[in-house]
């Protein structure tokens, strides 16, 4: 997997083009709550989280989506390249876990220099792979090279 920014010409349908890991800490999640304005106690208060049926606080879905989007734009080398991102949140993320943002090329349009990517975020938990984000899609555009 190349470490430099992708170029449209290098992409082929089916290519795996991204794999970026991040460990999630309660400090990160608190910082995200303050930065985003989402102060839902589910993401900060252990007792509250247990009271609504989780074993502990969970990361904001948007924290996980933020990691995915940032990983994509860093990889693109151009934040304006990300045109659309649509995700489904399918599993919680607990503190101390490692989330991995990944992407695979689904379709390419040379006329508009646009790629559609299948994107997901996975976490290994108790010997199985869970998908906090799955069945999700990004559309990225490339300037003329």
């Amino acid at each position: 997997m190349p470490q430099t920014a992708f170029r449209f010409e290098d992409l082929a349908v089916g290519d795996d083009v991204l794999s970026v890991s991040r460990v999630v800490t309660s400090d990160d999640v608190k910082r995200y709550a303050d930065a985003s304005g989402d102060q839902n106690p589910l993401h900060q208060d252990e007792d509250f989280a247990r009271g609504v049926g989780f074993p502990g606080i969970i990361a904001h879905g948007m924290f996980t989506m933020g990691h995915l989007a940032t990983s994509l734009t860093d990889r693109l080398g151009d934040p304006s390249g990300l045109k659309r991102l649509a995700v489904q949140f399918r599993a919680p993320v607990f503190m101390g876990e490692t989330i991995v943002a990944e992407a695979r090329v689904k379709a390419l349009d040379p006329r508009t220099r646009t790629a559609v990517l299948d994107v997901w975020v996975r976490v290994e938990r108790g010997g199985t792979t869970e998908y906090p984000i799955r069945k999700s899609e990004a559309v990225v555009g490339f300037a003329e090279s």
Binding site: Y32, A35, T70, P79, Q88
Partner: protein, 128 residues
């Protein structure tokens, strides 16, 4: 949740792409570069979100809410320091197997009236 509120438009909020807020957000999402992260759009959504969550007429029980889906369509990148207008409306309210599904569509426009980003957030109000 009051399904009759489908289509309700909330009052516009103004939102500034504030440099300090961007720096905090960038740190939180792990962006090392000097750019405004695209998902900074979430901060714009939260300029209106408290008025939806706190809307007595809607009657959403936020303690039972989980985020189910999120979509952004970016029309152009954010510019540091710019003032934007945020308008949210309830795009749909559905009930399925005792759970309520609420979709909020938010348009973020610049001072010229041009779209910067459109956000769609779907939340589930889990069965009590």
């Amino acid at each position: 949740m009051n399904a009759a509120l489908e289509g309700k438009v909330y009052p516009d909020a103004t939102f500034t792409v504030d440099e300090q807020r961007v720096a905090l957000f960038r740190q939180a999402v792990g962006e090392a570069g000097p750019v405004v992260p695209p998902t900074f759009a979430t901060v714009a959504e939260f300029a209106v979100m408290p008025f939806i969550v706190g809307d007595a007429e809607l009657g959403l029980d936020f303690t039972r809410v989980v985020h189910a889906e999120q979509e952004y369509e970016w029309h152009r990148p954010f510019r540091m320091g710019e003032a934007l207008t945020v308008r949210s409306r309830i795009a749909s309210i559905r009930q399925k197997a005792g759970n309520g599904f609420l979709t909020i569509e938010t348009e973020v426009r610049d001072q010229g009236g041009d779209l910067v980003v459109v956000a769609r957030a779907t939340m589930i109000e889990r069965a009590a």
